[in-house]
């Protein structure tokens, strides 16, 4: 979230799209209700199904799963063509005025620089025009045909209401009704927010959907403002914390990069990741990458890391390809892996393509699962249709403590790291994850010490400074993540600001000379000399906007609204004085922790987006794999060709697989669009092990629109079979009026929905929804396309 849960209550218009917050975030959804009750806010819901959020919304529009970019593109076009954008905001805080190199173009679904052989883009034509000093040339009138604003206008003028309707299946009338509400917040006195979740991230063009939403919010001047923002609703209670701490294969904690093989020494890596400012007014905070990175290495390898040995940079693995988990399972299926440690994940159920997951696990020699239940992954060898005698994998199930059986912190969607306390001891022999990991680590160390081996140093030199090395306390780990001074830290005048061994209080104190150690720079400040800031429970709210600066701690720097400089005009006055995130009081910025240099006066014109080399928000972003502007591409499996460019129908850069199990269906054989989703009553694949949840939603079902059910002769509660190119599931029909037929490109298209929560393990069982889903990935983040694939439906 750029903003936070409570801040949703400050909105005038809430767009719930690519998420179903009433269903999946019922507690956070209370702020939507507050906004509606207290401010008369309007809630717009755009989804493939009339869902729980739709039930309480002011306006619902059904779209075909996977056509979000077309819909958002339509909203962008509506905003631009009706002059509804916040012009001053766009000029001040976005790269709208930036000039793009002349060679940049977009034609027939492809941007300039496409290489059909490697299926990648050469991004050189996607860059800005720069002057002799390397700064971007700008046209502040935004009239130059080569400026970002004009390019944006041209790119999206194709997304007329009629085209949006033909692609998405929503009627022109419904689209216009939505556009009128959503695009009404481009004025200083209005603020609109967008709430999204897996409905946007589960596509082969997921990142670009979110980009499209960011463009819309920048045009409407909603980023950085109370009641505005682009808000990702995270699913698990600590998934935000996991992401922050480098759970993705290509990231280190704090969104530092895992070095690729081309960065053989530290100098190369730092040079490649330390951007140069693109405007004279850009703060370009990633310039401090070396400080963050060296402090991280210092945390990892302690006294072994020093200037002479590049702070043990060469201990870090270097990657040469995509190691995200669907790729790893493909490797596993091809017999390239021997074993796997599986913590906090249930890949057989999580899919995609559960049968491939099971087949891949069957080719391992050993599998360790640490879980509080015997999950589908732990018992994959006795999955339906699998003969256990044919599986040679040795499976170890380690009983693990669950969240209530250990302390530690949860980072919520609003980036608040909140400390929690252990409620009870784990039962039986169950142990907390950190204890399991530590004992594995200690035994691996012993093996290296006894038997040597290739490159033992990364393991043996790993810093393990805990008072109980066999079971480190999470408080000690939290202190280590925050970071400390390794030597006395002096300011510019030579005065000691922190003594050796003291906890750091801000990432501004980080050094690249090895005098600071910090596990995750964005969490620097969470555990200072004053104590564990995540334990704070202060109830003061001076803003009156629900920021509660003394309640726990949020990254970065306890800031509640990111990019909050953009909530004020050029003079530092809030766009809306009734909703002031920060403001210039003549000497400094006051209010929320400013996302800005605190004493930099508005006249200095420092860029509002301080992390970016541009210093401003990006309408045009050359950072992504498939283009600087989001473009509508069809899902990998789609009932229709892309009407904008039939020759480039799906995302040309979407990743698919080539093993014998990776099959993709055609609309002739599989005519129905299918999407998967979650229910309020269940939490993932866990709660089917729990009695009361099992009573609330006892059985797997398939949501089928009334018309399709009639066509196929299916009555409510009758058994149906749903088949994709990869697998088949059977369950009872839930025939409903909440999914309607759609006219897509002049044809009638049906879509159905399948909840994911069942499997072959648990108190109640049922088919895994992911038996159906395709192995197709987004090229930027490798998230699978769980939503919007093709199936056929039959009566059993």
């Amino acid at each position: 979230m750029t903003n936070g849960w409570i801040d949703i209550g400050n909105s005038d218009v809430i767009l719930a799209m690519g998420g179903n917050p009433a269903e999946n975030h019922p507690c956070g959804f209370k702020w939507v209700m507050e906004a509606r009750k207290n401010r008369g806010a309007r809630l717009v819901c755009v989804d493939p199904r009339f869902n729980r959020t739709a039930a309480v919304s002011d306006c619902f529009v059904q779209i075909r799963a996977g056509t979000d970019i077309a819909f958002l593109g339509g909203l962008i076009n509506y905003t631009l063509s009706h002059g509804l954008y916040h012009e001053e905001y766009v000029r001040l805080f976005t790269n709208g005025p930036f000039l793009v190199k002349e060679g940049f173009s977009f034609k027939d679904g492809l941007f300039s620089g496409y290489n059909p052989i490697t299926n990648t883009y050469d991004k050189t034509s996607w860059q800005y025009e720069q002057d002799a000093r390397g700064y971007v040339k700008q046209d502040t009138t935004m009239q130059d045909p080569g400026c970002v604003f004009q390019l944006l206008k041209r790119h999206y003028e194709r997304y007329t209401p009629e085209v949006v309707s033909q692609i998405t299946g929503a009627s022109v009338k419904d689209f216009l009704k939505t556009a009128e509400i959503v695009c009404s917040t481009g004025t200083p006195d209005k603020a609109g927010t967008i709430m999204y979740a897996l409905g946007w991230t589960h596509h082969s063009f997921a990142v670009q959907i979110i980009r499209a939403a960011a463009i819309l919010q920048l045009l409407l001047g909603n980023i950085g403002r109370p009641g505005g923002g682009l808000n990702a609703l995270r699913g698990h209670s600590n998934i935000q914390g996991g992401t922050d701490h480098g759970m993705a294969y290509d990231k280190l904690p704090g969104y530092l990069k895992i070095p690729p093989v081309s960065h053989q020494d530290l100098k190369d890596h730092l040079r490649e990741n330390t951007p140069r400012a693109l405007t004279p007014t850009s703060m370009n905070y990633w310039e401090n990458y070396p400080e963050f990175f060296v402090s991280f290495l210092k945390c990892m390898f302690g006294s072994h890391a020093n200037k002479e040995n590049d702070f043990c940079y060469h201990y870090l693995p270097k990657i040469e390809r995509d190691y995200s988990w669907v790729n790893l399972f493909d490797d596993m299926y091809q017999g390239k892996l021997e074993g796997m440690l599986c913590f906090g994940m249930n890949p057989v159920a999580n899919g995609p393509h559960s049968n491939k997951m099971i087949a891949a696990l069957s080719r391992l020699k050993w599998l360790v699962v640490a879980e509080c239940f015997e999950t589908e992954t732990a018992q994959f060898w006795k999955a339906p249709g699998i003969d256990p005698t044919t599986v040679n994998t040795e499976v170890f199930l380690l009983p693990a403590a669950n969240f209530a059986e250990k302390d530690g912190s949860f980072t919520n969607s609003a980036r608040w790291a909140q400390w929690k306390w252990k409620a009870l001891d784990p039962p039986g022999e169950a142990r907390a994850d950190q204890e399991i990991l530590s004992s594995i680590f200690q035994r691996v160390c012993k093996l290296y010490q006894q038997g040597g081996g290739t490159l033992p140093e990364p393991i043996l030199h790993l810093n393990w400074p805990y008072s109980n090395p066999a079971n480190p306390s999470l408080e000690e780990i939290a202190k280590e993540i925050n970071g400390r001074a390794v030597a006395d830290l002096k300011d510019e005048k030579g005065e000691v600001i922190l003594k050796k061994g003291q906890q750091l209080s801000s990432f501004a104190q980080l050094r690249d000379d090895g005098s600071t150690a910090c596990g995750n720079w964005i969490y620097c400040g969470s555990f200072t000399e004053e104590g564990n800031m995540m334990m704070r429970r202060g109830l003061r709210d001076p803003s009156g906007l629900g920021m509660f600066p003394g309640w726990t701690w949020s990254w970065p720097a306890n800031r509640r609204i990111m990019y909050n400089r953009a909530s004020c005009d050029a003079q530092g006055r809030p766009w809306d004085p009734t909703r002031a995130a920060i403001q210039w009081d003549g000497e400094k910025w006051v209010g929320d922790t400013p996302d800005y240099r605190p004493e930099s006066p508005p006249e200095a014109g420092l860029g509002a987006f301080l992390m970016l080399p541009e210093g401003v928000g990006k309408l045009f972003a050359p950072d992504f794999a498939e283009g600087p502007f989001p473009e509508h591409y069809e899902p990998v499996e789609s009932p229709v060709k892309n009407i904008l460019h039939p020759m480039v129908s799906p995302n040309p850069l979407a990743k698919t697989f080539k093993s014998d199990m990776d099959r993709y269906g055609s609309p002739e054989e599989y005519p129905v669009v299918c999407t998967t989703y979650r229910l309020t009553e269940h939490f993932h694949y866990w709660t089917k092990h729990i009695t009361v949840n099992s009573e609330l939603q006892p059985e797997f079902f398939v949501e089928i629109p009334e018309g399709l059910a009639e066509e196929l002769g299916i009555k409510n509660q009758q058994m149906v079979r749903v088949t994709s190119a990869r697998g088949s599931v059977q369950g009872k029909a839930l025939v409903t009026r909440r999914i309607r037929p759609m006219a897509v490109d002049g044809r009638r298209v049906w879509q159905i929905g399948i909840p994911i929560h069942w499997g072959f393990a648990g108190r109640v069982t049922g088919p895994l929804a992911n038996l159906l889903t395709p192995t197709a990935l987004d090229p930027n983040c490798s998230t699978p396309e769980y939503k919007g694939f093709l199936v056929k439906v039959e009566r059993v």
């Binding site: 009553e681 939603q697 509660q717």
Partner: protein
Amino acid sequence: MPLELKALSATNYPTRGIRETPRVCKLIDVSTCIGCKACEVACQEWNDTPVAETYPYTGSYQTMPDLAHNFWNLIKFREAERDGNLHWTMAKYQCMHCEDPGCLRACPAPGAIVQYTNGIVDFVQENCIGCQFCIMGCPFNVPKLSPRSQKVYKCTLCSDRVAVGLEPACIKACPTGCLQFGTKRQMLERALKRVKQLRAQGFSQASVYNPPGVSGTHAIYVLPFGNRPEDYGLPRDPSVPWVVSLWKGPMKTVGSALLLGGVLAAGLHYLKFGPQRVERKD
């Protein structure tokens, strides 16, 4: 707020204390219900009601077709078309705690159903004889018989929690503010305010559901389409069934009169004719 009896089934009303007891009320603002079922779970957990051993699928999002002896709080899900628009309503259903409770009036077992001065209507299972007259007496079809214990059960408005100053479990669990709890006056005020808001937002038929046929209830609703309570699973104009009213009203007087008349007639007969003498027959 200690519990004080106001009425008991099949018993003369006890003398009331002199304390002013605020009358409690639950407010269900249907316009903010998202059908999350937190109230269902909280009810089961707090009251330790046994979970069903089999799990029937209802063919909808609704947990079960109706309230049950072990399931006192149910969200009813309904799909309805109004003015050409689809509406998916979710409305919590439970005992309404009527001011004039049909169940209590119908109950022949002394002290099996009680009404407290705070408005809560509670079943005392140890006095229940399983005759099911209360089921017949309830205009909302709420009380349910346990096939095992042969006693009748329903929502207690968490009388045990309320007695020690806590809100009912369902209220505590509600995430959206759809469920609120307080005195009847407070809740009516809030409900009317919300109705006003809804009307301003275009729900011209929004209204408060506090049916007069049972002299009002201690669970009231805000309905966006107040003209169509059936869409939320609520009866349009509930009142105590005429059989119960007749039986416990006029019929009771008539019965008493008949009984009294009989006794009176016997007395008069005795006075006039004296005791019956049996002639000795040799």
